[in-house]
């Protein structure tokens, strides 16, 4: 079973769904999870994801930025960054929580998921698209902190230079 999971998310609803989904996974299967977040400067997307697991308090997830004139260039940067992070973390599973448009097939180029599966021999899980009731509940302010889970270990708060593309 998967024990070291790398989660790549953006600020979309799918990213939030992936966040909750993988939290459940880590608790049940006692897995270690690392989050990295995509910031696409060219599209003006500057969402930030805060980890809210009480064990480590609220902190900024690892963020990496992709730039480039074309979608293919940005996708390739994104895939390279994820693959590099997966190798650094020695992940045995990569979870993608990106907006569906980013994962969809382009007219003339492969999508992120196809590029990633072609580049690295690690299982890839595409997070559920729909906002389940659990995700919707997680988006509401919590009345109190949930029970701390020692199974979840988050990456360092500071950016890893190897993951940052400016």
């Amino acid at each position: 079973m998967f024990r070291r999971i790398l989660v790549a998310i953006d600020g979309s609803d799918t990213g939030r769904a992936a966040f909750v989904f993988i939290g459940d996974w880590a608790r049940q299967f006692d897995a270690e999870v690392w989050f990295i977040q995509l910031a696409d400067e060219s599209a003006g997307r500057h969402g930030e994801t805060l980890t809210d697991f009480p064990l480590r308090g609220r902190q900024l997830a690892n963020t990496f930025t992709v730039t480039g004139g074309t979608r293919a260039a940005r996708d390739w940067q994104l895939v390279s960054s994820i693959a590099e992070a997966a190798e650094t973390f020695r992940a045995d599973l990569i979870v993608l929580g990106f907006e569906p448009g980013r994962l969809a097939r382009g007219r003339s180029s492969n999508s992120v998921r196809e590029l990633l599966t072609g580049l690295i021999d690690v299982p890839v899980l595409v997070a559920p698209k729909r906002l389940t009731h659990r995700v919707a509940r997680a988006q509401r302010p919590a009345r109190r902190w949930p029970t701390p889970s020692p199974a979840i270990a988050l990456g360092p708060a500071t950016n890893d230079e190897r993951l940052v593309h400016v």
């Binding site: 989904f21 196809e114 599966t117 072609g118 580049l119 890839v124 595409v126 997070a127």
Partner: protein, 135 residues
């Protein structure tokens, strides 16, 4: 967490890997494994006898499903089989929707240093609402 896990079952290397992973996930989470074997046409084994082709009634898909069932039973996983005469993508996504699946597991072909996605896993990822695991 994964009460219903759907996996596409064929005789390809990637599909066998997918079935093994799906069994592992279902066993760890105590869920039910749904084996979907969707083919566009019935492939029956035939023999030639007295210059005439004779259908001996053996269906390779049934024996493959039985083999996968046996693999799951060894791991004490509950199994439901869904042999369908339909498009594989349509079959898997329909079963996933009907069973309110939490996860669909699909296989990929091995390539140099990585893997290659065929049309089926790509389409499943496009159409499925639940999580899709590519192994």
């Amino acid at each position: 967490m994964f009460e219903n896990v759907v996996v596409g079952a064929t005789d390809s290397e990637g599909a066998v890997r997918a079935v093994r992973s799906a069994i592992e996930v279902a066993r760890a989470s105590g869920g039910t494994l749904h084996l979907v074997m969707a083919t566009r046409r019935r492939r029956r084994m035939t023999v030639v006898h007295d210059r005439r082709t004779q259908d001996i009634g053996l269906d390779p898909t049934e024996s493959l499903l039985a083999e996968f069932e046996r693999m799951a039973a060894q791991e004490s996983v509950r199994v439901q089989t869904h042999p369908l005469f339909s498009d594989p993508v349509e079959g898997m996504t329909k079963v996933a929707a009907a069973e309110d699946a939490d996860l669909i597991v699909v296989g990929s072909a091995s390539a140099q240093g990585g893997r290659r996605l065929s049309a089926v896993p790509k389409a499943v990822m496009d159409l499925a609402d639940c999580a899709v695991l590519v192994v």
